[in-house]
């Protein structure tokens, strides 16, 4: 089933599926129901990082260098950890300035320089075209291989004419697809929702395919990962592959590759496209920070097992390790799996080619072609009415040209060295953007000249130490160029510059190119102070994460005609879309009609940012300048504006702080007020309770007194009984008044406490003696369970006695007559001395156990029929115990009895009294 018609139709079906997904994604985006507004899809789209170089090449690399393929994925993992700062800043800057490519980013940062944008574009194209060639080679190679089934080595192709070469058609098909995906219409923000959806799907397909072949090799051909490793380590040739520092590899290479890959994940045009330009929401970055590294881990898990398995399976058969992913299932007659693997490889290639080419075409159009066209008066562009069609045509042309360049490189290089190492060579090329990018985001002093010089220096060194040697190895330059240096200058040998040895070619290039790049960037930047344009852009970039920063419009002064501005934008975006955009803007400003818009700095800025999305920041600046009469700001003026802005920032921060303090003060006041209200309420409650408690005995005294007064014939025994009641009620009144006074004194802190060393044992004994009559009267047994001696506590003896007596009289009150038993025990506990008074009365319901400690609240009313106390004894006791740092509480099981327990601390009693 692996004949070419089947393979071709499966491939086309797959591409059609991708296109359907992209079409659906775009449709949904137009309806405002974005499918890619999802953090998982965002993370998956980042996996466009994994190209065929990963898919086929990792195994090839692992077959030569063992775990040496891993740094390419460890670097991105580490950099994603910095994503919270670095990528967030890139995204926010790009959104604020409508930046749509990495060239635009750099150009915009350094004063919207067309020259800089052009240079970045050229470097990117030169660096990336070979990488695209690599994808073409992988697709055509895997196609030749799979249709040659059951043979495991593709026939050598050579010298067939272009029109008979499958790779040529692959390039054309990919170009057509990329045009369909990326440039169906012109978007001011250069976002491609459908494309991202398709890329996310491709990421899933390539991971699934690679995982499938990994599982097949590991568990189908061998008995698991352990089995593969054990067999491989039995062969000395293979055992070496499992170490990092074997043979010609060392830790310096390892570090260089990690570093390089970490930069690539930020600065490869396709990564910038999916990570920054296509980002829907900053919040999505959170999941990508860990999900994308997880994807990388999963796709690499089986690389080494497949490589070792292939090396053992095909020992001595001369099969290229780059093809193991495909040839292993083929050799095992797993045709379906082989086809799936081929589709996975196709995913890896098409994903990379589509995104990379779209990103490059945007750069070529905005930063290379448009500036040139706009300068050429002969083309009369300035008078052309609608240029949006031209923009699309340029981009489509750029896509075709880039892919044909890729094909050309592939034809020229063929199987030469230049293709094999190209992944890392590309990485090193885009890494040259790092100083200008990162420096630009964090250092205000970087200037256009510095960035230009740094980029040129780095690019020149890269060309000399990496690109030219790769040409030499491919035979395009004499081999003596490498071995003896140009014209025999030993010191200038490209891969041992100035006699530097001991580094591999990548580390060597990285060292020299970064050295040259960074040094030149800083030195040239420091030669002069930034111009007004540079300083204002620097602030926009460096302060991108600050809460308040000067908007671009603050840094523009001049006059313009709104109608001209709208016409200008219309020429690039299409008149209809320009009008819509300005109508939206007018509504936001609260102006009913577009024609009534004021031609202020804000409007000009808005027009410029609309144009920036379509033609890049540098060209947009030039176009706006052509219709607006701008009064250039001098550097001191810019500095003044920026200073004002930063002063404003300080003021607003100060204001924020003040309002926070005010808020805190308000809430404190509110809490205090609440407390006061509560106290007031408590006081009212207290007064009500007191009056009520006083009225009860008073009423009965008055009632009996009236009986005695009004009815002189009352019998003597009756009189005595009534007088007895009157006396006892009077006593109760006295007790009540005393206790209220007592309570009030304690609460107001007016009690004079006589603090001394108190023997709690003696207190308990004396209290028991004082209440013995009560027990005797009611027939309740009192048992004392006291240790021979206890340490003294610091307290007021009389007050403690009051507490114990109160507890004892409560206990006897509730204990049943005759059968009642009350046990008083004294014991040493971890936090002091505890006194327990337990009775076998009716107990206290759980919900009442806290209530009885409140004033005038008595438990068990319903059980005893009428209040038998003042309702102040327990609250006073608790206050006393708490005054000496102790606790008083009750433990009770209803029906079984109640135990009142108080604990007084021993240690605290030494520190004198509280208060």
């Amino acid at each position: 089933m692996l004949q070419s018609p089947v393979v071709i139709s499966v491939s086309f079906c797959y591409l059609a599926l991708l296109f359907a997904v992209a079409y659906w994604g775009d449709k949904r985006a137009d309806q405002g129901r974005s499918v890619i507004a999802n953090p998982t899809i965002y993370a998956l789209s980042m996996a466009v990082y994994c190209t065929t170089w990963t898919y086929y090449g990792s195994v090839g690399r692992a077959a030569v260098s063992g775990v040496g393929f891993l740094p390419i994925y460890l670097g991105p993992t580490l950099v994603m950890a910095l994503g919270g700062f670095l990528i967030l800043k890139m995204i926010r800057t790009a959104k604020a300035n409508r930046i749509t490519s990495i060239a635009d980013f750099i150009a915009s940062r350094y004063g919207k320089s067309q020259l800089l944008g052009g240079l970045v574009t050229i470097i990117a194209v030169i660096g990336i075209v070979p990488y695209i060639a690599l994808q073409l080679k992988a697709v055509s190679g895997s196609y030749d291989l799979i249709v040659g089934y059951p043979a495991l080595i593709a026939p050598k192709e050579g010298g067939q004419p272009v029109f008979a070469d499958t790779t040529f058609y692959i390039a054309l098909i990919l170009a057509a697809f990329t045009i369909l995906f990326g440039t169906r219409h012109l978007d001011a923000t250069e976002r491609h929702e459908g494309m991202v959806a398709a890329i996310a799907l491709e990421s899933v397909v390539k991971l699934a395919a690679f995982g499938a072949v990994g599982l097949f090799v590991t568990y189908g051909l061998y008995g698991g990962i352990g089995d593969i490793f054990q067999r491989a380590m039995a062969e000395p040739q293979l055992a070496k592959l499992t170490a990092v520092a074997a043979e010609n590899r060392n830790y310096a290479t390892w570090f260089s590759l990690t570093f390089l890959a970490g930069l690539a994940i930020l600065f490869l045009p396709r990564q910038f496209q999916v990570t920054v330009v296509e980002n829907v929401s900053e919040a999505h970055l959170k999941r990508a920070i860990w999900l994308f590294p997880l994807y990388l881990l999963l796709i690499n898990l089986f690389v080494l097992p497949i490589a070792l398995g292939g090396l053992m399976q095909f020992a001595g058969q001369g099969i290229d390790a780059d093809t193991f992913v495909l040839t292993l299932p083929m050799s095992a007659q797993q045709e379906v799996l082989a086809l799936f693997v081929f589709v996975g490889g196709l995913s890896a290639a098409t994903g990379m080619v589509i995104v990379e080419t779209i990103a490059l075409s945007t750069m070529v159009c905005n930063d290379l072609v448009m500036p040139l066209l706009l300068r050429t008066k002969a083309l009369a562009l300035q008078r052309e009415r609608d240029l949006s069609g031209l923009l699309l045509a340029i981009r489509r042309g750029a896509i075709v040209v880039i892919l044909l360049l890729g094909y050309l490189y592939f034809r020229l290089a063929g199987d030469a060295y230049a293709l094999v190492g190209i992944g890392l060579i590309s990485f090193s090329a885009v890494a040259q953007f790092a100083p200008a990018m990162i420096g630009g985001m964090y250092w205000r002093g970087g200037t256009r000249d510095g960035a230009l010089a740094g980029l040129l220096a780095g690019f020149a060194v890269w060309t000399y130490t990496l690109l030219l040697p790769s040409f030499a190895k491919s035979g395009w330059l004499p081999a003596s160029f490498l071995a003896e240096g140009p014209f025999g200058f030993e010191m200038l040998k490209p891969q041992h510059l100035f006699g530097l040895t001991g580094l591999d070619e990548i580390s060597h290039c990285l060292f020299w190119s970064f050295g040259a790049n960074i040094t030149t960037y800083i030195v040239v930047s420091l030669l002069r102070s930034p111009t007004a344009a540079e300083a204002s852009q620097a602030t926009q970039f460096v302060d991108a994460l600050k809460t308040t920063r000067p908007v671009g419009s603050a840094l523009w002064r001049g006059s313009a005609d709104p109608a001209e501005l709208i016409a200008l934008v219309g020429r690039f975006l299409g008149p209809q879309r320009a009008e819509d955009a300005f109508a939206t803007y007018a509504r936001r400003r609260g102006v009913a009609d577009v024609k009534r818009l004021e031609a202020d700095a804000d409007l000009v800025h808005h027009a410029e940012s609309l144009l920036t999305g379509a033609i890049g920041s540098a060209s947009a600046r030039a176009m706006v300048a052509s219709v607006a009469k701008e009064e250039p700001l001098s550097l001191p003026e810019v500095m003044n504006i920026l200073d004002e802005a930063s002063q404003l920032r300080t003021y607003s921060r100060e204001l924020e702080r003040k309002s926070r303090e005010l808020e805190a003060a308000t809430s404190e006041l509110k809490a205090a007020n609440d407390r006061l209200l509560e106290v007031d309420r408590l006081k009212d409650d207290f007064m009500a309770s007191v009056s009520h408690e006083l009225r009860t005995p008073l009423t009965s005294i008055r009632a009996f007194s009236e009986i005695l007064r009004d009815d002189p014939r009352t019998a003597l025994p009756e009189r005595e009984r009534f007088l007895g009641i009157i006396v006892s009620e009077t006593e109760r009144l006295t007790r009540l008044v005393n206790q209220i006074l007592d309570m009030a004194k304690i609460e107001s802190g007016n009690v004079e406490w006589r603090v001394e060393d108190v023997d709690l044992k003696a207190v308990v004994e004396q209290s028991a003696a004082a209440t013995s009559q009560l027990f005797h009267d009611k027939g309740v047994t009192l048992t004392l369970d006291l240790p021979p001696a206890v340490a003294a506590v610091r307290a007021d003896r009389d007050r403690l006695m009051q507490v114990v007596i109160n507890l004892l009289s409560n206990a006897v009150k509730f204990a049943p007559a005759q059968a009642g038993r009350v046990v008083v025990s004294l014991a040493q506990v971890p936090d002091g001395l505890s006194v327990t008074v337990a009775d076998n009365g009716p107990g206290i319901r759980r919900e009442d156990q806290e209530v009885i400690f409140e004033r005038f609240r008595q438990g068990g009313d319903s059980l005893t029929g009428k209040p038998t106390g003042t309702g102040l004894g327990l609250p006073i006791s608790r206050k006393i115990v708490e005054y000496f740092g102790g606790r008083l509480w009750v433990e009770s099981e209803p029906g079984v009895g109640a135990a009142f327990i108080f604990v007084l601390p021993l240690e605290n009693s030494r520190n004198g009294t509280p208060q």
């Binding site: 993992t77 700062f85 054990q230 390892w254 959170k286 997880l294 881990l297 080494l304």
Partner: protein, 72 residues
């Protein structure tokens, strides 16, 4: 004034930790001819550290954050 600066700082810490664990000299300690779970030690070490870093990153960014003051 960085938003959620605490998790940002934690991520930087993870970056430094990872850079440290993935490079010489620490890496060389595990670059030995030994096996763990039938696989070469360095292979197991790299993937284990890698997985642990990813788990840490996920933990740091996905924890529900305390509500912070508005603004961006």
């Amino acid at each position: 004034m960085q938003r959620s600066s605490l998790s940002g700082q934690r991520l930087v810490l993870i970056f430094m930790l990872g850079s440290f664990l993935f490079n010489y000299p620490l890496l060389s300690l595990f670059d030995r001819a030994r096996t763990l779970f039938d696989a070469p030690l360095v292979f197991v070490y790299l993937f284990a550290v890698w997985a642990a870093l990813i788990a840490l990153m996920a933990w740091v960014v996905e924890r529900p954050e305390r509500p912070e003051r508005g603004g961006n």
